[in-house]
Subunit: 141 residues, 2 copies
């Protein structure tokens, strides 16, 4: 896909590596996950297991919904439920080696794409910002 | 900016009109805002005043931070604080008539751009999805 490759420069810089990606563990409780999301400010972050495999995605609306009853939000239940019970398991992800074309396809409907290696170990994410920064530089020439 | 105009087809379809945009009023209390955000699932939404002027942006992390103390989250305080007290007033917005070039500039660092008319009345938003859908169609030809 020549246009795509022309549009996005510096493909090596695209990956936000795992050590820069905010994430939680699937066995964390929701109060911990809520605190992480509140502190980092990202709306959706990956969920990993204890072997660094990608298991799901967690967001604040999902957490609040999990403790919302008919009349009230039951915040005291946050330390009773684990992330794995409510995480979204439908993840936009690609296994290495990936094509830029697949990234572009995913970011049309997903704010970021998760990257795993051949063994399924989480490597990092590629974000819409990363793609748009590369594209905008070309568009301004 | 010829490349930009070539890249994004159907510019008339880009605007998500005001009646399709989830928003809250600046005099709403935080418990109402939290409920709206939980129900619609969007991470950040516009805040309007009673004359439909754009006043700010509200997100869940901002709401949770506003009631988080040293040791605990004080959820009971949600009905004591108004949206206007904590909303983000730094808004990526454009006044009509706007150039596509300005939209492209904004979406590099903002997930959406808010559009207001000459009188400052909120008209709707343009999202990264909208831009990327138009771009991807071209890139696949
Ligand atoms: N702390 C910050 N500093 C500067 N700009 C910020 C920011 N937090 C958010 N933004 C801006 O808001 C966009 C949407 O962020 P959101 O958290 O909803 O959605 C994010 C989040 O769900 C995820 N993400 C990005 N970076 C992450 C990281 N380091 N760790 C975990 N998740 C990340 O990827 C999505 C898309 O990110 P993208 O950069 O394309 O788009 C970001 C970026 O343009
Ligand atoms: N209900 C849903 N159905 C389908 N896809 C969904 C969805 N909710 C979120 N997404 C996907 O996740 C992206 C990030 O959504 P977020 O709510 O963080 O960030 C959103 C949200 O802050 C705002 N936004 C979008 N549509 C909105 C609306 N109708 N009302 C209020 N805010 C909206 O613009 C940002 C960027 O939106 P964008 O569409 O580019 O990107 C969306 C879209 O690709």
């Amino acid at each position: 896909l020549k246009i795509a490759e022309m549009l996005v420069e510096n493909q090596d810089d695209l990956l936000v590596p795992v050590n820069q990606v905010a994430h939680v563990r699937e066995d964390n409780k929701l109060d911990h996950a809520l605190l992480v999301l509140t502190n980092v400010g990202f709306s959706v972050i990956p969920v990993l297991d204890n072997q660094s495999q990608l298991k799901g995605l967690i967001s604040m609306p999902a957490i609040i919904r999990a403790v919302t009853g008919i009349k009230d939000i039951h915040f005291e239940k946050l330390n009773e439920i684990e992330v794995r019970d409510i995480m979204d398991t439908e993840i936009a992800s690609l296994r290495e080696p990936y094509e830029l074309e697949d990234i572009l396809h995913h970011v049309v409907s997903n704010a970021f794409v998760s990257i795993v290696n051949k063994e399924g170990i989480f490597q990092g994410i590629i974000t819409r910002s990363g793609i748009l920064k590369g594209t905008n530089r070309i568009a301004h020439e």
